[in-house]
Amino acid sequence: MKIFNTHIEIKILNSSFGMFAIANILICGLSGVFLAIPYDITNPYESISRILLFNPPASFIRNIHYWSAQLFLIFTLLHIWDHFKKQGEKKVKGPVWLRLTLSILIVFFVMLSGFILKADADSMQARRILTTLLEGIPFIGTILSYSFIGPESSLQLLYVHHIATTTIIIFILIYEHARNVWGTLNAFIRSLILLVLLSYFISAPLHDNLDPVVKGPWYFTGLQEILHWLSRPAWSMVIILVLLAVTYYIPRLNNFKEKFAKQIIYYSFFFYLGLTFIGFYLRGENWRLIWPWNESYLEEIWLPTIERIHFMDNLEEIPKGNFQTVFNRQESCLLCHGGMKGFTLSHSPQAIGCISCHQGNPFALDKKAAHHNMVTIPGNLADAYRSCGTANCHPEIVTRVNLGIMNTASGMVSVDKYVLGELDHPSKLSRIEELGHSPADIHLRTLCASCHIGNTKTEYGPAEQLSRGGGCLACHINYSAEAGKELKNFKASKNKNDFVFNFHPSIDLNISNDHCFGCHSRSGRISTNYEGWHETQLKKEDIDINDKKYKLLDDKRVFTFIEADVHHSKGLLCIDCHSSYELMGDGKQYMHKEQQVKISCEDCHHKEKPDLLTISQLDADAQKIYAIKKWRIEDQKFIKGSKSGLALINTYVNKYDSAFLISKGNGSIHYMKKQGIVCLQDNAHKRLGCETCHTSWVPRCISCHTEYRSDEMAFDHLSKVEKKGKWIEHAGNFDAGPPTLAIFNIDNKTQIKTVVPGMVLTIDKEAGSNRKFFKPERFFAPASAHTIIKPKNNCKACHLNPITYGYGEGKLIYKTENLKSTVSFIASYENLYDNLPADAWIGFLMTRTERVATRDYIRPFNVQEQHRILTVGACLNCHAEDSKVMLKSLIDYRVVYEARTAACVLPFSK
């Protein structure tokens, strides 16, 4: 069949396209009458969801209505094409031809109005687009919009136009040009058979209002493509008007011009068809092009699902009480999962439905269809924006978490690359998912990358010692005893596909330290430090498992007990100090963890009177959490965090200005002592951070060797496959000891804080090859060890401890001879390649300025500072710590120094 040059009257089974179009519009109109009975224009979306779930006959009628409408449009277009080819337009009178030309607009309007009347997310966006296009017409746009679409708050006018105005006009136009409104029996019966088959097996679509892919009806996806090109979409109306004008003038054109005009129409049509295909089958979320071989293709593109109408199922047995309207719809999930227990009130099916988290098809009654595109473990960051992060739920939180350092692992990435020589400095905003394949990237991928919350949770179960990642579930999932028992049964079950769960894990705020333990028992070991456990190099067989001095972790590491943090001893959880804006981020990207941390010791252990906030000053999330926790303190005033400016919602201050903390775990109340007189009056130690005196011990790791073997295989925690390139770490020595102190210079303010030997190591990037690339490094790192105690440490513990200065473990020896005082140092560890003891940061009475720390703003004491601190050490050799002289020196050291007698011989000249 030639397309352009042959006059052929096309008939299908003895009926023309026009007759099939009439047959389908008749069936559409008739089905529309019946559909109007269960359809509720005041609650359209909910009424359709009820039809789909509880009214199979109405659902069938809806499908008939939908498919007959689509076939009506297709046959109408084919009918126009058919008559263009046989020059049928020349047989029609001018005014009739004008009305027929305009009827193309009316046909599309009736189709689009039907699409909008289902009132799902696609429909509402389509309505907004149509309104904007109409309002863009000069002078009459607003009137047109109001007359055809009506006010934004109601679909009533559109409904009237759909069922009455446009339907009547279409039938008038059909009669006017065809002198026939009934079509042929042949076309009617054949259309009906096809529609019954289609409608029985394929349901008309309804958007679940959660799927982020928003698309118009298939016949307008081509127009969407055109609108995407036009930053002034009004031009699309001009294009449509031009095509209509060309169509109208075709009968008046001579042969050549007529053919040319028709070719414009034909080519435009095929071009539009191509755009329709692209728009419908190749456009995914956020207007991205998506190809059939992409992993998420089936999630983002609507393909009809074969699911028959369940006429004979006894739906009266379904306990309707299970069904609540959630976000204007009802969901079929509870048909099978109605008895499930274990939810919190805020995350129960009655509150948010099931598909808010698990997706799937809420309108399907068949298991396979209902589970189509279902997410069994929602909350991973890769898809959290479709579950936890939708506009109805926690969109701002998911954005914050995505940018937060527990996901980006920015510091871990930049410091690692700096130490391995791939960055000039350790402070660069980085994201762990963006790692490449350099040696440092492989080091991170294979040894570190499992510890970021973007890591996907792939198995059911609570957060345990070996758990990594999980997005929102890293913190917020908890298994009850029953849920845990059922999970064990599931894992042991041989037929997991048919296993029906009765208990669901809860999504709640009960974030025990177990959630933090897995990742934070690594690196700085703050989880284990907090409980008083220090890692050893012992193996399981080296210890008595019943000896309470040891703890064996699930990954077989052996820890020994040193001393617990006082906050742990009091029963405080990690989250009692570390709030949501720290853990979930505040929307900003930070290079290092200490920048994201909001809490400081002084917030709770204040000097005089803390700044306070009232309940009305809490933000919405804090108010929700406060309401859930049910703390009822009369006239509660919260401490205002000094760094964040936000309320610490588990605190309160009474009328005597005494501050209390309420443990988020068990609600126990703890008095928070104010800072002692020592802290308040001590001018000599003004620059010292609280942890310099209050840290009991820190883990000190030194002398490890790490080598890279490019030919060996290792597991890549980001891509989850074995790949070539393996880093092997040979542990050196690690013990528990006092911290080293360092100068922190941030925003032109200096403070003295604790550091630990972070990366004192040798690196061989070409192990196993003939070349040697051996690189020693000696970095110290900031550490908040989480081993806080009431200091029993005395002055000598710092001033006479060489570890404090960064000299390493050993002995400081003061000698006074012949009115001269000297200090010397004997190291415990042997010198390494750089002539420094293995655990040292700097040499005795020396300093280092380059590549010394994992932060740009940290440095060791310079020589003058060492002199001053050592001088006080010299004083302590003669004067007791609590002597008048030493106590006075805390208030004004300079005065005391100047007032010393001739008997007082101190090292270092003035």
Partner: protein, 106 residues
């Protein structure tokens, strides 16, 4: 809730926004609220300047129109079209109940 107020002039559509929103971006029907950690607040119309679609999502930290993919910064400025204009910034003020009243349609 959309209000029509004599105080603000008939024909003006108003919306009440709670004052205690969390820091970050909140999508509240016709309004996008951007609240900084400093407490600074900006409100924008969620109507995409391209074709009026309601913007109700972020994608990789940028405000994204779900219809044709236009993207905007959190200050409302346009990053990528087809929209030709930035998000319309809305006027708002605190009312006597302590919530914000924002004018969503002029």
């Amino acid at each position: 809730m959309v209000l029509r107020s004599k105080k603000y002039g008939m024909g003006k559509k108003l919306k009440e926004i709670p004052a205690n929103l969390t820091v970050g971006i909140s999508f509240i029907e016709e309004v996008i609220v951007v609240k900084e950690s400093s407490g600074d607040l900006k409100m924008f119309s969620s109507k995409c300047p391209h074709l009026g679609c309601r913007i109700n999502k972020m994608d990789n930290g940028v405000i994204t129109c779900p219809c044709h993919g236009s993207t905007f910064n959190t200050d409302g400025s346009i990053i990528k079209g087809p929209a030709a204009n930035s998000l319309k910034e809305l006027n708002f003020e605190l009312n006597e109940t302590g919530n914000y009243i924002v004018e969503i349609n002029t």
